[in-house]
Point group: C2
Chain length 232, copies 2
DNA sequence: GAGTGTGAAGGCCTTCACAGCT
DNA sequence: AGCTGTGAAGGCCTTCACACTC
């Protein structure tokens, strides 16, 4: 049944949603694809193409109704019932993510954290309780956790991933700088900070070449940066 | 003059390098594409294709000489003279990155940090001195900084990016959850934690559809009992 | 006129498959 | 036999261009 959708479209829909939330707060009742395009750093055609996956929402000379589009994205991206995540490794990066994610969405929530440091265990961090690693299996199973966020040192990552997968998570967000081996059916998104940094450094150097032969520009299409995305 | 190379290849070369460093430490004198492939999570053909960009290095039935391949990647990825970066926003995320990057490479180094918090200013954090934001322009210009790492709240991000670009950086690593507007020739790599998280959640849900039959040795795969509560 | 929805074209990247080497 | 290097094929995604709508 699954309509297949490009991974990149999912990422962009997430971006559009945040732009739309801001627009709605600014009382913008309608929005055009070229406006979204500007804020999201992609072409207008791309925006319309992505929105196609939601079913058609727009009105030809009037753009999209902000709240309607927002609802459609919510329905599409979010689970019908909320999803549960855990975070393993409460270092600076783990703390940053707890700060960033905790309490932000009701439909996608970090339910527990894990760390080897006994000093952190049983404490509340940003409203999230911290447990020893030995509890991973039990808690993931009992609470039916869907997603694991790995912010552990690379030497520990595979072992933790194995435990999470054995306990039934279906997705991993991996910040450790190695590629995890996981069973079929488990989705892994790698956020590789080292690669990202080295990539920026590389293209910062190359960048001078990129004197793009610009279009006969009928109008301000711009989006004048070279653009990357992470992910993976 | 630039040989054009896929962005993804750059990312993967960065991954291969780390794998090779470990292999070299394990005294592996040679390495096959299928070995790299396994550790990097891509196909062997992809590995060979990426290595093509470096010029040919391998010996048909003997694989690649580890140190030779490593040198070639270093030469390709790294600047002939070292590149300099600064980091703006010393919150948890900024600290995590300082920890992660500082002193790790001599050819790519974070030279200064910036924060609005006066308590952090003039202190040394992981060997990196912290300055007030007002110093950005001066320091970036004087030290000829190439890359800026933005770990500031989203409301501050565009303003900081403008200052960095005006002072001459050629690349930005942006962790703020919005798309920056930058002048032509400045490369932006977005690391969008929100998108990544939402993407994992989405595909973790979708993944269940891919119930590929016949996974032999798979025993009790959790998610047992109640199923009505969770479907799509 | 101004914007959306979308088939078709195009481009980038990955995979295939096999020649060639050792 | 086993592995690399690489043209060719394929697939995924983006962009173009235009019919259609208000």
């Amino acid at each position: 049944m699954t309509k297949i959708i490009p991974e990149r479209s999912i990422e962009r829909l997430s971006v559009y949603r945040r732009v739309l939330l801001q627009l709605r707060d600014a009382d913008a009742a309608v929005v055009f694809s070229h406006e979204l395009s500007k804020h999201a750093g992609v072409t207008a055609a791309q925006v319309r193409r992505d929105i196609m996956h939601l079913g058609c929402m727009g009105v030809p000379n009037s753009g999209y109704r902000t709240s309607e589009l927002l609802d459609a994205i919510n329905t599409f991206l979010d689970a019908p019932e909320s999803q549960r995540a855990v975070l393993i490794g409460v270092g600076h990066l783990g703390l940053a993510l707890l700060n960033h994610f905790s309490g932000r969405w009701r439909w996608l929530h970090i339910h527990a954290a894990f760390d080897t440091d006994a000093g952190k265990q049983d404490t509340l961090i940003r409203g999230v309780r911290c447990y020893p690693l030995s509890e991973i299996g039990r808690i993931v199973r009992e609470w039916r956790i869907d997603v694991g966020i790995l912010t552990v040192p690379k030497d520990a990552a595979q072992n933790v991933a194995d435990r999470l997968c054995a306990a039934g998570v279906r997705g991993l967000l991996n910040f450790a700088s190695l590629r995890l081996q996981v069973p079929e059916g488990v989705y892994v998104e790698n956020v590789d900070l080292t690669s990202s940094f080295e990539k920026v450094a590389f293209f910062a150097r190359q960048g001078s070449k990129a004197l793009d032969s610009s279009l006969p520009c009928d109008q301000a299409e711009a989006v004048n940066s070279v653009e990357g995305t992470q992910s993976h």
